[in-house]
């Protein structure tokens, strides 16, 4: 297993993803109690698209973010490459 050091732009991109995902978490809980708010649903779908783009960019640097087929993997198996989130 390689001990890769992450380039500075990784941290920037990761925080971008955390911010976009956070909007999605907030809208999810909000929509659970406000299922008829059309504007919030539109915003949710816009941000879902943004997160897809960001996920792809981050995975090019960091490797797969999700498992069980939600991300493509590289050779050799790079899912368990360090660093893990708590090690970063």
């Amino acid at each position: 297993m390689s001990h890769k050091q992450l380039p500075p732009e990784f941290y920037q991109l990761m925080e971008d993803l955390q911010a976009v995902d956070f909007v999605l978490v907030e809208l999810t809980l909000y929509l659970d109690t406000h299922p008829n708010d059309m504007d919030a649903i539109k915003q949710f779908n816009e941000f879902a698209k943004k997160r897809k783009r960001l996920k792809k960019q981050i995975e090019q640097i960091y490797g797969p973010l999700q498992q069980f087929g939600n991300s493509y993997v590289g050779y050799p198996w790079n899912w368990d490459d360090t660093p893990w989130p708590w090690q970063i």
């Binding site: 911010a19 976009v20 907030e26 809208l27 909000y30 109690t33 504007d39």
Partner: protein
């Protein structure tokens, strides 16, 4: 907007062993007042929302420890 902290003056006995804290406080966050959240409330930018822990300024409840409050006061003096 509702205030986030309430203050009260506890009874002070002349026999209290610790130096008295004359004013005590407790937190009253905005969820106590909002009722059902209205549609279309103003939002923070995504980055700011992440750092504040909520997407909506109306739900943001600031908190500062006494240590942090004193440090700020010290910097101003």
């Amino acid at each position: 907007m509702s205030s986030n902290m309430k203050y009260w003056h506890p009874y002070i006995s002349p026999f209290d062993p610790c130096p008295p804290v004359r004013v005590k406080r407790y937190n009253t966050p905005p969820n106590l007042y909002m009722g059902f959240q209205p549609y279309g409330l103003e939002q923070f930018s995504p980055r700011e929302a992440l750092h504040r822990g909520t997407l909506w300024p109306a739900l943001f409840s600031p908190y500062e420890s006494p240590v942090e409050a004193n440090m700020k006061k010290g910097m101003r003096e």
